[in-house]
Point group: C2
Chain length 477, copies 2
């Protein structure tokens, strides 16, 4: 008979005579009670084995991690915490799991240990919950943009341009390290490489995305991006997924409205669709924080924090106002910041962002109108000649979650800026075409998907919210 | 005032006093009629300019490709083919477009020329339609799996293993070609590379996906994959998007059911959501085919062909049956095939697949139970010891669209096969873990997304259904 998902069995409205479930044994107690999980839900279904009529040989094989098929009757459970259980009539071991060797024991493992077993950690409650939430969040992203008529654009992963200068890039090549083809001058001859030129992994789909926004009006990307920075922190990955909407005719205010509305939509979506997983993750976080000093614990529980973001407008503050607030702040005056804010033009550090969000405003903050010289070349220069129409959205706990801007739509201003920064106009001929032919005000932003997942799941290390993290010295699996 | 999308204006239920539209000029006729498009729909809105009261200087700037903002009254149109038009009261040029230099002239361009201008080709009717259809198809993919409770998994793009041997891979590295770090034996010392080992771009997320299916039950991937094969054909890309579902406890028949149901769902979805774009593409295809000899034209128009796939079950045929059909076929007997089918075990070529689908069965065909030695190591060996539980779905016009299999769940059989093929067990320790701990029957398939888009849009070159194609000697943009 066809098996039924554990989720559907637990949500059944009646007891049922004959059901079949398939899944993996989480625990087996008293030679009688199997906690069975099939990944469809955080909850296990209890399967009660008739141990007196089951051969010892079989009972021994019901070990943590074993795959089993159980057939029996769905009955009301006498045990606490569960509505239904299966009275097992027939049990088949599909795949054994050697109890001594199976790494995922029914006990607490360190997150480090679990990372080394990324292929198996998803068999734990916490990681299955994270991965289900991540999946639903992905769909929320697509749903939001599609409902609003945005076109999903797959910008290229392999790119011939390093124009943005957003960070160090990974080289993509089919050339050998030995006997590399050379030009007459002795340089590597990329004309003999697969693409006939030097190529890298993309750091952003923005520039290509802009060209599509200037034809389709509203577009978004959602794909992997790469940074070859040697940053071994809990906030950096070498490979991560980024969401980048771009909208023709939107100015910076429209852009801020879009970002805020978008973030609130996806958080509401996941609150609606994943209540059990989020509740589990909230409990997990509370347990984690119990061992921390009081001062380091979250002021709000996970669900409260998510609802807080839904219910409050993000505070919009100009860079200039932010500098004034920071200059006058207690930690600045008492020299508690590692980087003291003395004057306008300073690049804000993580400690400053956290002060603004967590201490001063106590809500998500949108900072805008940054000094031109600390921001990217494509951002629109304000009339003051010294600030650009950039914005960053800062969240409690995780800092910058969105970075965006109104783009410089004026051909001459853009070219001048590229010249000043030594960016090759020839290489970006196609990008400049958007300003040559039918240019218009347009804006967009980038949101690092894993930072959003971090925020929503309450995890603290970005390696724990992506299936197989890529970091310096780590590309296992 | 806030502008309204052209799509919404054209779908208005009443005339409206004051509206604002922003978009790009497709044509400007008689100094009076602007065909304005903003990417929200294949249809332009006609904007009637009061040329007597508009300065000549402005009229001259209303050129193909220019971005304009028009404010005026939405009135019923006297012209044929459109319900509404805008009587323009105010016109602002947002961005000029030099009529002599703008590459996208209002005339037919070759597809080759448009590929060289991939950043601008999306401003044509055909490419905007293709890109909207592609976007809606992407969402259909996510909708299907999410509705069925599948978990979306982002398998890694950069991978440390070349275990599948599916094709030549691109190297990903941060090492320099000059003064490359070397081991004592003079080999490249990948321990000094970013990840501390040799890494490549993924050719498939399947193996990682399987590890997640064996915990979450039902998963799917949808991400970019890469092949460094020097295939300069209309069916190959070096970078393309692949969909790979994987389901625990599914056997090959369940897998075929899933693939068929999935394909019919996404085609129905796009037929429902994109009627205007598909109608336009159907007309385009008819025009294209007019110049072809009768024999090369499609037997069905585009919409008819899509509906045909919806309404007919895919024919399921074993490899062995297919060989018999091919051996007895007229082209085989008359030696019209380039590769004559003489005996069981032959690897089917594109000409054979086309014969089966387009001549013999005249419907989509699922071939299954292929000879083990022409298929991948992870496919489940049948009891006959010589065939494996593989399946390919073949479509008219484009050939293989899906390749899948029931996976070999038996540890010993899998290891034996890996040994025979020289695949490193050490490297795939994590993959083998799924068969060590709670193994079970499971199945999945891969669908090249661009082949699906080709089929749905009626285009014939795969480079025309992805925003920025990556092919040998081509990584522009």
């Amino acid at each position: 008979m066809k098996h039924t998902k554990v989720k559907d069995l637990l949500n059944s409205t009646t007891t049922l005579h004959e059901v079949n479930a398939k899944g993996w044994v989480r625990t087996f107690r008293n030679n009688q009670f199997i906690a069975l999980n099939d990944g469809s839900t955080i909850n296990n279904i209890q399967c009660v084995v008739d141990f007196e009529n089951t051969p010892d040989e079989t009972l021994k094989r019901i070990t943590t991690g074993a795959a089993v098929s159980v057939t029996g009757t769905l009955v009301e459970s006498k045990g606490a915490g569960q509505k239904y259980e299966i009275q097992v009539a027939e049990l088949e071991i599909l795949g054994d799991s050697d109890a001594e060797k199976f790494p995922m024991q029914p006990k607490k493992h360190s997150l480090e240990f679990l990372r080394e077993n990324a292929h198996l950690r998803v068999r734990t409650n916490a990681f299955s919950a994270i991965m289900r939430v991540r999946s639903v969040l992905s769909f929320a992203v697509h749903s939001y943009f599609q409902e609003k008529g945005f076109v999903y654009v797959n910008t290229p992963i392999i790119t011939g341009s390093d124009a943005e200068g957003a960070g160090e890039m990974f080289k993509v090549t089919a050339l050998p390290f030995d006997n590399t083809p050379r030009t007459e001058e002795g340089k590597v001859n990329y004309k003999e490489d697969f693409f006939g030129k030097e190529t890298n992994l993309t750091v952003s789909g923005q520039l290509e995305g802009e060209t599509f926004a200037m034809a389709l009006g509203q577009i978004y990307t959602f794909g992997p991006t790469f940074r070859a920075e040697n940053s071994n922190t809990s906030r950096h990955l070498a490979e991560f997924w980024m969401i980048e909407p771009e909208v023709a005719f939107n100015d910076l205010n429209d852009n801020m409205d879009l970002a805020e509305d978008f973030i609130q939509y996806v958080i509401k979506y996941v609150l609606d669709k994943c209540p059990e997983d989020l509740k589990f993750l909230e409990g997990r976080l509370i347990e984690e924080e119990k061992v921390k000093p009081q001062a380091e614990r979250s002021e709000m529980a996970l669900l409260e924090k998510l609802n807080f973001v839904l219910e409050n407008n993000f505070k919009r503050v100009s860079y200039t106002e932010a500098i004034d607030i920071l200059r006058d702040s207690t930690p600045n005056k008492k020299k508690k910041f590692n980087y003291i804010i003395n004057e306008w033009g300073a690049d804000l550090q993580s400690e400053h962002e956290r002060y603004l969000v967590e201490k001063h405003f106590k809500c998500p903050v949108i900072l805008f109108d940054y000094p031109a010289n600390i921001k990217a070349f494509y951002m629109r220069l304000n009339e003051d000649g010294k600030t650009v129409r950039a914005m960053d959205i800062l969240f409690p706990g995780i800092g910058e979650i969105v970075g965006g801007s109104q783009r410089e739509e004026r051909y001459e201003v853009l070219v001048e800026k590229m010249k000043a920064l030594g960016i090759d106009e020839e290489e970006l001929w196609w990008y400049l075409d958007t300003r040559r032919f039918g240019s218009a005000v347009h804006s967009g932003f980038g949101l690092g998907f894993e930072r959003l997942v971090l925020f929503v799941t309450g995890m603290t290390n970005i390696r724990d919210v992506i299936p197989f993290p890529r970091t310096p010295m780590n590309a296992e699996f």
